[in-house]
Structure formats: structure tokens, C-alpha cells
Point group: C2
């Protein structure tokens, strides 16, 4: 063994996911389901470069992003790798404003990069699957209601039943703070409230008092925070709190319309809930916000989040472009589900049929394979030489469901031996009947997925 | 207008393709066709990281690659962006040898990076769409014949009829050089011969003499090079040249088997040809080589190339892993076709139906949209307020084929107005009949694509 071969580490860089074939097929199925759902709701695909000018990506970003970003010089150009899909969208809409039809409904599914220290469950390269609707100057609040409908369709299609899309409106929080005269402390108050589940009500009350809040303000804040989760009934409770600040009233009215529209869309009541404690991205979102939790795996945290923002591209254009969007971090979601055996990993190949030529002349096998493929039945011809046991061992390892033997008898009679490799059952059929049988099966499989 | 907004350039970096929505949809259709064909031939998806350790990517690379590569330090790690999908495949197979079933048929479709000076038609970020079959120690030559069958299926599915897959075998050239005692000058001779079309026969003869070749050697070389293109008949001509070097004989025998198998697969004779002058990547390929030209656009050059190699992963493992593969540079292909109006760019959205609520209560519209989507008919609900003309203008700009109006009458009678926005024709139908009509149309569309 040469020394230099031992020096090269063949594992991927730490923090980079690399899947085995079976896992990759399962990952791609999730990816395809998300993509198909986005398209079914009329979102338009968009694929922007992974590399951007560093000043474009950092126009808005704060200190943390700047530390995490992959950035380098190539010649005289200061280049960075995108760390999300929203900043490139903002640049795109500013650059191609005249070529885009508003409201611009776009989906983007691609890799983004964050060079943070790898932790359990965090990746430096990961897929984001985003949709956004961008309005020109205005955007109706009912677009906010559409997002939970898309989330619902996706997680149902992925085979989940127990999940909750938590919905809030940032104006409600901001209006409450304004009413209580606490606007300047809002960030620290939110951080404290975020820890309610973790440290308990008493500890949060103490923290709030330490921030200088009056007993009355603490009581009002906690009455608000503990208002409970649910549908339209929570709206009534919010309205009865007696808070009159216009921002609060506006937020509650928007939330009411969003919830009503979601109900009209037929989203199951068990799949969504108002949760006044969620408040994603303090600066970025300005109205409706979403988080999604898988109720059987609450420890994963939110698997699909997003919200409404007033102005997408203020760093690149003077046009006001309000938007609303959601994002699924698919790499992390897949990784977390895989660790919990919550993703079906069963196929090691797309192949459904292995055709085994048993004569010198392969023509009939090759013709049969071409026929099967023309009907969309994924087919391989076995070119491996050696004993039949070895050749079938390949199909067995990959879990290919069918083998077709093409020997002299089969060629003469035009009836091929179709073997179900799972049951061991063998039948003699014409090429036409084989295609018929496998096409019907494929359609049944498809329907099973759709139901 | 703030000054800083004018400073940020919103165009993508030079050499990076960014498409408008209509183009992106056309690009994705090509991408999906290639992917579907790869899967139909039983290739397994694989997605490796874009970033790799620089020493992994540069283990084999020469000076040119090193200059072009995007490479940077992050902390103590020397990182580079992949410049193709073959080197990552080699590392992957070495790293996951025990988890891979051989022959390993994998497809990979992803972005690769080359920081070269941008020239017309060259990109710094581009999609490669690769398949490879990797054997463990050995790999039957018939796998070489499968590649042109895949290429043929792809370009037919993309709607091309006039294309030629050019096939050669490197052993034929190498055997000829060995027979003529010209092995050491082979690179320079090849370069000269490569320019045959460009500079003409006489100029090439002169160049070869300048390299010190005897008149006899020049004559033999040119007799070989000018043997003509075609199918099996070229094999006979090669055999009649009287060259006896074992490598030459072996190459001709392999080529004969590859051509015979391609013919057995039913690939149209007009879609492939032996061309003894092609000899891709002098070092890398060791046997069969392929190039594919669109006969209507010869100036594009090869749109799908590849070949056989003896040992995929010699830099990462001591196992001998022979392979054969092809690659489509989709970004460049799309760009070239687009410039020639040779790609159908007609759809600006996946949406087929725009549902227009005309009452305060959107419930019936939302329910109808949910119904349509559940049958896979991509549907949007118009939440844009204002006059009907403005609302329909959106559908018009995007070329959405159908609108459904949901007003009070429609809700009362349960019959909705379906308008074909291309013909202007309007009919009243129940939700059930609308779904029926649009599903049938969708299936017809699908069949039209397959035929």
C-alpha cells in the first residue's frame, strides 16, 4: 500500500451530510413531495447562484452571519456563499423587477452554507425549501393564510398526521409592548418569555421584575402569554383583554382573518393553533409568523417556519416589496427523522425489473428492457457474468422486486419467466402481459401515495 | 434615494447563469427529463457536498484545474469547491465501499464550480448531469454499450431527432501509436489530428512531418483517421488495415461488441456512429469514449461526453474500480439552445387554474381550489383585490390557461364558470365536471410528452 493513499481522508468534511443510496432515495422522495406541493399551489421555480458578491449577502446581515459565512477572494472579487434563499430572492427581485409578475409566487429548493461550529443536528451545508409571495407595494393578508395551507398539504403528503402549525402576529406583541410602555425593553422581555416552558412561570416573573417592570405590567404580560392555544376562540380571548393600542387591535384583526381563511381552506383543526408566544426573528418579521412542530417529536423544534415581512429588498431597491414566506430546513429535518426511525428507508434503487439474458445473443433481453422502459418501468439488464446465484444476489442486495429470465425456451415461445423476488413466485407471461401487470401495479402504488 | 442602495450591484457575478421564471421552468423540464431517464435505466441518486477538502479534490488534478478551482481557508481547513462530479464519486466509493452494491450505478445532478475567466458560453457555476457504472475489479464491456442507449433515450425525450453519438475506443489509437513506435509523441500527434477539420489534411500532414514522423507513418495515420464514420461496416475497415498490435486488436474487438449491443438495443442507426478521431481526455479514459453532437447545431460541440476508465479511485483506495460514465453539462447546453431559440419557452408558471372569488366569503373558492389540487391540478386562488380586469391581467401575463369565477349565482347553483383564457370560451360546469375535464386534458398532455 502506498503511503499517500493513506494520507487522504475520504470522509466528507465535518458538518456536511452525505447519505447512503437508500437514504438518498428516501431524502429525494421527501424533496420531490415538497416540490410537487409547491408547484400544485402555483409557485414558480427559481434557482439563483450559490456564490454572490459578499456585499450583496452582507448588506443586511448582522455580526453572527458575518462570522458564519463562507467568504473568500478570487482575483479582485470578494465572494461569499449564500447562507439562505431570502437574500438572493431580494437581490433577484430588485435586479429583474420588470420581468417579474406580481404577486410573485416563487419556490426555491437548494443548498445554503453556514460555516458555524458543527453541533449535533446542525449542518454547514443544508437544503432549504422555501416559498415566498412578494407583492408590489401591497399584499393582501389572505396570502398569509395560504402558507399554513401549503404546510398542511406538505406534512400530510409526507405521511404525518400529528403536527401543529403555530400561528401568531408580531403586531400583537408589539402593540402590547407599546400599550405597556415597554418598547425599549422588548427584546429582553421576549427572551425571558421565550424561556417560559423551560424555566417556569415564577422564574420568568422574577426576571421581568429584575428588568424593572411593574407588578401590573408583569401581570398583564403573563395574562397575555398564558392565554392558551387554539383556533378562533383565542381571538375572542385576545379581544377581551382590554388592550386598545391600534397595533394590537390591527394584529388581532389580521390574525382573525388568517385563522378564518385557514378554516375555510379545510385544514384540520388539529393541525393549526394560535400561539401568542411564538415570535420568530425579532427584526425581520413584521406581521404573521409561523412555526410547525411534529407533535410526536417536539424535541426537534420547528420543522417549517416563516412569516410576513414589510419590505423584502430595501437594501437593493427603493420599491416597497412586502412578502410572506415559509422555509423547510430539509437536511436537518431528514437527519432528525432518520435518527428516530421516522422515515421510511426501504428502496436501494429505482429499478423495478432486472432482465437476465441467458443466451449469448442479448437482443431479446435488450428489446424487452427497451419496451419496459418506454412504459416508465425502470429496468436494468444484467451484464454481470457468472453463476445465476451471483447475478440474482445483486438484485437481492438492492431489493429489486422482479427478475425476468430470458433463455432459449423463453425466446422460442415468446413467454418470459417473471419472478417476484420477494415472494419467490414465478409465472410465464408474454412481454405484453408483463408490461400490463407492472403498469397496473405502478398505478396502484401511485394512488397509495396520493391517498 | 439613499446612496447606499445605488452602490450594491444586483446583477449576479459574471459567469453565473440566472434565469427568468419562464426560462427556469424550461430548464427544469430538461433537468427532470434527464433525471427521469437516468432512473428509468436503474441509476441510483447520489448527492455529495459541494465543498470538499482541497487535498481530496486536488489529489489527481493537474495545473489547469488548480488554477481554476475555488479554494479557501476556513479556520484551519483548506477547502475547495468541487469542479466535477467524478472526483467526489471516487472519494464516495472509497469511503463507503462496504455499503455500496457493485456494479454501482449512480446518477448525480448538481452544481460544480470552475473559477476560470468567463468566456462566451462558459460558466463558473454549472450543472453537470452524470451517470457512471462502477465495477469491483472488473466491469463487462457491455456496460459501455448501455451509455449510448441512455444518451439516445435522453435526447429523444428532449425532442431532438438529429443527433449523433460518436463512439471510439482509446485502445485503437494507443495500439496504432504502439505499432508505429510513436507512443511518446502521441499527445502532440493527437492535438494535430484534432485540428483536421479546422486546418485541413495537408496542413496536418505537414505538422506531423515536422514532428519527425516518416512519410510511411504519416500515410498510415491519415489512412486510419480518414477511415470514415458509420456502424459495423467501419469495424471491417479497421480490421482490414493490417495493424496487428494486440492493443489495437483488443480495441477493435471491444468497439465491435459495443456497436453490436447498441444495435441490439434498437438505437436508430442515424443516432450513432463510430468516429475514430474522437479521443477525449488523453489520460483519464482508457477504452470506449463518447461524444454527442446535435447535427443541426454542430458549432455547439459535444453536448454529452464520457468514456471508460480503468481505475476510478486510485488516489483514495487500493481497490481496482473500473468504470464507465457520461456527463451532460446542462447549464451550457441550455444556454446554447436558448440562444438559438431551440428550447421551448412557453410556461411562466406551473399554475393551470386561477380561481377568482367574487363574494366576501371565500369558502367556496378555497374548497374548490383544495379539490383541484387534490387531483394534482395546480391551482391558485386570486387574493388580489381590485377590478376583474386587473385580476385577470395577472393570469394573462403568466399564461395561466383557465380561470374559474365563483360568484353568488355560481355558489347557489353549484355550477361554476370555467373560462379558457386562450380561446375566451366560457362554460358552466359543476366542480366534478371541471376536475374531470382538466384531468383528461392533463393526461393527454402527459401522453403527448411521452410519445
Amino acid at each position: 500500500m502506498k503511503d499517500d493513499k493513506q494520507k487522504i481522508v475520504t470522509q466528507p468534511l465535518s458538518g456536511f451530510m452525505e447519505l447512503l443510496p437508500k437514504e438518498q432515495i428516501a431524502f429525494n422522495e421527501m424533496f420531490d413531495t415538497i416540490r410537487k406541493t409547491y408547484e400544485n399551489f402555483g409557485f414558480i421555480p427559481l434557482d439563483t447562484p450559490v456564490l454572490e458578491r459578499a456585499d450583496v449577502l452582507l448588506a443586511k446581515a448582522g455580526g453572527e452571519t458575518e462570522k458564519q459565512i463562507y467568504r473568500f477572494m478570487k482575483g479582485d472579487t470578494d465572494i461569499a456563499m449564500r447562507f439562505d434563499l431570502t437574500v438572493p430572492l431580494a437581490r433577484y427581485v430588485a435586479a429583474h423587477y420588470g420581468d417579474v409578475t406580481f404577486p410573485f409566487r416563487r419556490y426555491a429548493m437548494g443548498k445554503v452554507y453556514r460555516g458555524e461550529r458543527p453541533q449535533a443536528g446542525r449542518f454547514r451545508e443544508f437544503y432549504q425549501c422555501d416559498i415566498d409571495v412578494i407583492g408590489d407595494t401591497t399584499l393582501d393578508v389572505r396570502f398569509d393564510a395560504e402558507m399554513p395551507c401549503v404546510i398542511d398539504a406538505i406534512f400530510c403528503a409526507l405521511g404525518f398526521d400529528n403536527f401543529t402549525i403555530r400561528i401568531n402576529n408580531r403586531k400583537i406583541f408589539n402593540g402590547l409592548f407599546a400599550e405597556l410602555g415597554l418598547h425599549e425593553q422588548s427584546t429582553r422581555i421576549m427572551q425571558s418569555i421565550d424561556r417560559l416552558e423551560k424555566i417556569g412561570r415564577d422564574a420568568v416573573e422574577n426576571e421581568l421584575r429584575e428588568l424593572g417592570l411593574s407588578d401590573d405590567a408583569v401581570a398583564q404580560l403573563l395574562a397575555f402569554v398564558c392565554i392558551g392555544e387554539g383556533g378562533s376562540e383565542v381571538i375572542a380571548r385576545l379581544q377581551s383583554l382590554g388592550i386598545t393600542h391600534p397595533l394590537f387591535v390591527e394584529g388581532v384583526a389580521e390574525l382573525a382573518e388568517v385563522i378564518a381563511t385557514i378554516e375555510q381552506c379545510g385544514v384540520s383543526a388539529s393541525h393549526f393553533a394560535i400561539d401568542v408566544t411564538i415570535a420568530r426573528g425579532l427584526d425581520y418579521y413584521t406581521g404573521t409568523v409561523y412555526e410547525t412542530r411534529l407533535d410526536d417529536y417536539p424535541e426537534i423544534g420547528s420543522v417549517c417556519s416563516g412569516g410576513r415581512y414589510d419590505d423584502l429588498a430595501s437594501h437593493y431597491t427603493n420599491r416597497t416589496l412586502p412578502g410572506v414566506g415559509i422555509s423547510i430546513g430539509l437536511t436537518r429535518l431528514f437527519d432528525q427523522l432518520r435518527k428516530r426511525d421516522a422515515v421510511q428507508i426501504d428502496k436501494a434503487t429505482p429499478t423495478r425489473v432486472l432482465v437476465l439474458p441467458m443466451t449469448e445473443d442479448c437482443t431479446p433481453s435488450l428489446a424487452l428492457a427497451t419496451d419496459l422502459r418506454s412504459r416508465g418501468i425502470a429496468t436494468e439488464v444484467s451484464f454481470v457474468t457468472g453463476k445465476m446465484k451471483k447475478r440474482l444476489g445483486y438484485a437481492d442486495k438492492l431489493g429489486i422486486p422482479y427478475a425476468i429470465f430470458v433463455g432459449e425456451d423463453e425466446i422460442e415461445t415468446g413467454r418470459f419467466t417473471l419472478k417476484d423476488l420477494r415472494s419467490g413466485e414465478q409465472i410465464q407471461l408474454t412481454a405484453q402481459d408483463i408490461i400490463q401487470k407492472l403498469t397496473v401495479e405502478k398505478d396502484i402504488d401511485k394512488k397509495a401515495i396520493c391517498a
